[in-house]
């Protein structure tokens, strides 16, 4: 169980994390979603006691990180796979971590086996590929057999095989009753990995709900409209308060349902070729909810960013 209560982090005038309150429960994979720069890593660092919150608290099983006796046995974390001395072997890296928390030495070989690094355990970690580093990081997180696991962008830069492996792995950990807290800016990835979503933008909480609910809620009012008279119809839709996103030859309307659009079309003698409700992607859902809160729109991808800008402008 991970809890944040009014968690706030300021760097000078910049507010990285703004009054964040959420909880991640045991037995579930909780996705921590937000664009780059939304404050995900900062939040995770505060959970782990690495950064001091400006105000608010971050607790794990009701305790602050500093209060945990052998923290690695309670919380395992992978924040950055590159946090390994390049000239130290994988085994040596895990050995000192185990030693620090009174974890038996055989556990080192066990976790190396679990992540499939046994054959390169004696090799220097600096020569590892990103996928191998990521596995080593996960081995470190699993070392103390903790009930709470935190992963920051674990699939970043991995090949499809690695992504699949990590996804399966998270599910297995959650099925074992552990709390799994995974951050990502890859919304599609989270749709496949997470049961619950905590969505933030610019350090603020945007939504906490189940993944299903989140997608449904955000996309229920998106309708695709195709019409030869689109140019004439657009101002009508805008006047009715709808958000419009152009797609080649059609427009995605948000804020109005099929019935309302159909009636508007009839009233203005507009011929429609298509009128279909969209079960939008998680991306679209996110952009719609987080539009205002996206700080660096360019990092998503230019098309999505343009959509977001329109959505925001249309409001």
């Amino acid at each position: 169980m991970i809890e944040a209560n009014g968690l706030t982090k300021r760097y000078g005038k910049t507010v990285a994390v703004d009054d964040l309150t959420f909880a991640a429960e045991a037995g579930k994979v909780t996705g921590f979603l937000g664009p780059n720069g939304a404050g995900k890593s900062t939040t995770m660092r505060m959970l782990l006691g690495l950064d001091n919150p400006t105000s608010g608290t971050a607790t794990i099983d009701g305790k602050r990180y500093h209060e945990l006796r052998h923290p690695l046995r309670t919380v395992g974390a992978l924040l950055d796979a590159k946090w390994v001395h390049p000239n130290r072997s994988a085994r040596a890296h895990l050995t000192w971590m185990a030693k620090a928390n009174g974890i038996p030495k055989r556990r080192v070989d066990e976790v190396l086996e679990t992540v499939g690094l046994t054959s390169v355990a004696g090799k220097r970690a600096g020569g590892f590929s990103l996928g191998m580093s990521q596995r080593l990081g996960i081995a470190g997180a699993l070392l103390g057999d903790p009930q709470v696991l935190l992963f920051d962008e674990p699939v970043n830069g991995l090949d499809p095989e690695g992504i699949f492996w990590i996804r399966q792995f998270m599910h297995r950990l959650a099925d074992e009753g552990r709390t799994v807290f995974v951050s990502s800016h890859l919304l599609s990835e989270m749709a496949l990995t997470a049961n619950e979503l905590i969505v933030i933008g610019r350090g603020k909480l945007i939504a906490q709900s189940s993944t299903k609910e989140f997608v449904a809620r955000a996309s229920e009012n998106a309708v695709k409209v195709r019409s030869p008279q689109l140019t004439a119809f657009r101002p009508v839709l805008s006047a009715a308060g709808a958000g419009l996103i152009d797609e080649d030859g059609s427009v995605i309307v948000s804020g109005l349902d099929c019935e309302a659009i159909g009636e508007l079309a009839a009233k203005h003698d507009v011929v429609l070729h298509e009128l279909s409700p969209q079960h939008g992607s998680l991306e679209a859902a996110f952009m719609q909810l987080a539009g205002d809160a996206v700080e660096y729109t360019a990092v998503i991808d230019s098309e999505d960013a343009a959509k977001a800008a329109e959505l925001v402008a249309a409001r």
Binding site: L50, K82, G140
Partner: protein, 251 residues
């Protein structure tokens, strides 16, 4: 104890401490061999320790790197994750590095003395006075305390290049240039740590024998013992400040 073991594993599973130890030994002992082999004066206990200052520089590099590489590679965060009490984690590291510096220093100093004795069997290199002992056995102690200072500076600066340049420029240049300041320069210099600790090592130069060859003696007015206490005090002060800083700062 556990934390000391942790830091020992961390230190010895990387290469730089081994290299730095080897280089220190090579420099200090090699310098003694060079002096003893070419001296046109009577070789003394003090003259066998001429390479001390160069070894000191390498010890600073070793000690500073032991902590700055942790910041460089992010392992300091893993360390603080495993040991949230930063003060004890960093104290353990400082202790291990200081002990290593002590061992290297003693090995280098006695190695230098021993090799000189072998090379020049006629020289009087017996440790027959407290001053002689300080000159040789003191090297390890000074290295250990210097290592503490270097770790402290490393904790504060966090960058290898920055910490090492600061340490080397200070110890090699700043202290020896201060006396050039008119009127007050000498007075300030009298209290600068590396000048003071030279008093502990060479005292009034009695370990130099009849030839009395060597660099200028320390201008410190302290007794050798007090000089060491003063030097240790400076190291403790720097370490305390660095620990406070590390505790307050985001890792």
């Amino acid at each position: 104890m556990t934390l000391l073991a942790v830091e020992r594993i961390k230190l010895f599973t990387t290469r730089s401490p081994w290299w730095c130890a080897a280089v220190t030994l090579a420099i200090v002992i090699g310098f003694a061999a060079l002096i003893t082999g070419t001296a046109d004066f009577q070789v003394s206990v003090a003259s066998t320790q001429s390479g001390y200052g160069f070894g000191l520089a390498v010890i600073m590099v070793l000690a500073a790197l032991s902590i700055t590489t942790e910041y460089r590679f992010g392992t300091i965060r893993t360390t603080f994750q495993a040991v949230p009490n930063r003060t004890s984690a960093l104290l353990a590291k400082t202790t291990v590095v200081a002990l290593l510096a002590l061992v290297i220093g003693e090995a280098a100093a006695f190695g230098a003395l021993g090799l000189s004795a072998v090379m020049d069997s006629g020289a009087n290199l017996a440790l027959s006075s407290a001053a002689d002992w300080r000159q040789v056995a003191g090297v390890g102690v000074v290295y250990a305390l210097t290592a503490v200072m270097a770790v402290a500076v490393g904790i504060m600066i966090r960058h290898s290049a920055g910490a090492i340049s600061l340490l080397l420029i200070y110890s090699m240049l700043v202290e020896s240039l201060i006396p050039l300041i008119p009127a007050v320069g000498e007075d300030i210099h009298r209290w600068m740590p590396f000048n003071v600790v030279e008093k502990f090592l060479s005292g009034d130069g009695s370990a130099r024998g009849a030839a009395a060859e060597g660099p200028p003696l320390s201008t410190s007015t302290l007794s050798p013992t007090l000089a060491l206490v003063y030097f240790a005090g400076v190291a403790a002060l720097l370490l305390t400040v660095s620990l406070v800083v590390a505790k307050k700062r985001d890792a």
